[in-house]
Amino acid sequence: MSTILFFLPLLLVFAVLAIYGERKISAFIQNRYGPMETGYYGLLQTVADLLKLLQKEDIVPRVASKALFLVAPFVIFVAVFAGFSVVPVLPTWQGASINTGVFFLLAIVSLDVIGIIIAGWASNNKYSLLGAVRSASQIISYEVPLTLSVVCVLVVTQSLDLQVISFQQGVLSNSYFADAENYLFGLSFANVNTTEIGGVLTWNILRAPVLIPVWIIFFITTLAESNRAPFDLPEAESELVSGFHTEYSGFRWAIIMLSEYGMMLLTSLLGVILFFGSWNTPFPNIGSIKLASWTTGEVGSMASVFWAVLWLLIKTIIMVFIQMWIRWTYPRVRLDQLMSLGWKYLTPAALVLLFFSALWRLMMV
């Protein structure tokens, strides 16, 4: 329950650094420097921007539906932030340890769209409303392949608890399930037991390599879920000013921005937990060189805390980097392309992969 003490500061620091990082990455891709003037190498640019935002007037358009307009950013933020409540940080430290963690996460994250629709509708602005409508149609259509891709993982892991899924993917699996066995690529008939080897070999993508294409679908759909480019139609700058948050300014706009980056962090964390071994180390034990055990530490020790947080954050940040890299590479898709990608490509592919994941699970036992 107490992971809020970790995630709330993490989210704030992450948003500040990620906005800076995003500006730098976009600059490097475009042969520019990005922010350079505020602080060393522009490091304090986001802090300065944030201070400016906090000082700005809280403008409510006269014809807006005032109460809803004021409350919408917080609905979005709460929906995103509630998702962090089930995410594990350490082997010994998880938020809410509920048996249906993944289900809860997917459900609560979809609430996000309610906040977006409230914001767009309450603004009484055609751009905002168009953005909100687009957002709703996008999130609803991408919910389907997202859920299917997550179900593919769940078929393999046989659990909805994110902490259980984390334990399965490393050398600590035996400390949680006494009789847990991991086989290389999940092929139990080949009988290469990787339970004690751990490392990258027991991550879900290698425990059941069928999850590699599943991860691609998962990744594409999470981009769409978090309204990131190339699926940022709800806030398409070139068409809709900035979509559902056109009318927002100052602190409320900052909250919406924070939620957007929070969503990036959450979906990246979820991807890491489901596919890339959660807080487990990437190094395997090779014979007497116990790289995995050394970089995991005794459960409960300070070393274990350090390694777990380090691996979880490194992997998450790499995922976030990929999201940014994609944003500054691809142009925005059209609405019809978005729908055809979601319904005609990702959904059938996810269904087929679900079938293969189930087959793979049969080979794992």
Partner: protein, 235 residues
């Protein structure tokens, strides 16, 4: 089958695009050197890496023969007024006071005979043609490499190069008057006319004449007197 072809071509093109941008990220470890247009590497320098010129902190070297801000080395100026005459936009305003004797030498050995009471260049009018620097006989009027001289007040565009104080100007004017008086008193000597300098006598009055000439030839503002009249009646 078009369905699978779409998937394959999407995968190919998308990964290609990611490769392109990732290469840019990798190349951005290097910043391009800011070389001038004269440098042989000018066109190859900006092929990769960060190209931004962080202007106030760094700038591209300007070519030696670039035409930027004007500068007058007043110690070398003989106040010949050629620059003011040749200037197509009349941005140079010179007022000279003829000296009673040679007042010094320029660095190339030309004698200075006229005091520069006023040598103003209005850089707001300047069209950077460089004609004034070509006609300058002592090469005291040059174009510098300074090109960033924006100012807050429009009047600050006028650069004054004369160094004489008002008191000095007054003094020199008096001296000139005195010597002229002496000359008129000593007029009974017409055989010694000094006609070479005489037309140059008062440059300022001459330039004023030139400036004044076109004025009567411009009767464009016909309604002016009417407006004036109206104003007068209003008053």
């Amino acid at each position: 089958m078009a369905y699978f072809k779409n998937i394959i071509s999407a995968a190919k093109t998308l990964s290609k695009g990611l490769g392109v941008t990732f290469n840019h990220i990798k190349e951005s470890r290097r910043s391009s050197n800011q070389v001038g247009i004269n440098d042989p590497s000018y066109f190859s320098e900006f092929e990769s890496g960060i190209n931004t010129l962080q202007y106030p902190h760094e700038s591209i070297p300007v070519p030696d023969n670039g035409r930027y801000k004007l500068h007058n080395e007043i110690d070398d100026c003989i106040v010949c007024d050629k620059c003011a005459k040749v200037c197509p936009v009349d941005c140079i305003d010179i007022e000279g006071i003829k000296a009673t004797e040679i007042i010094g030498k320029t660095s190339d050995g030309t004698s200075k005979r006229i005091h520069a009471a006023k040598f103003d260049i209005d850089m707001a009018k300047c069209c950077f043609c460089g004609l004034c620097t070509t006609v300058c006989p002592t090469e005291c009027l040059t174009m510098t490499k300074s090109y960033d001289f924006s100012v807050y007040d429009f009047a600050d565009h006028i650069y004054s190069f004369a160094t004489m104080t008002p008191l000095e100007i007054l003094e020199k004017k008096k001296l000139l008057e005195q010597s002229e008086m002496e000359r008129t008193v000593a007029k009974p000597l017409p055989s010694k006319p000094k006609p070479v300098i005489k037309p140059k006598l008062s440059i300022s009055s001459k330039s004023e004449e030139i400036a004044a000439k076109p004025k009567p030839a411009k009767p464009v503002f016909k309604p002016r007197p009417m407006i004036k009249k109206k104003k007068n009646t209003d008053d």
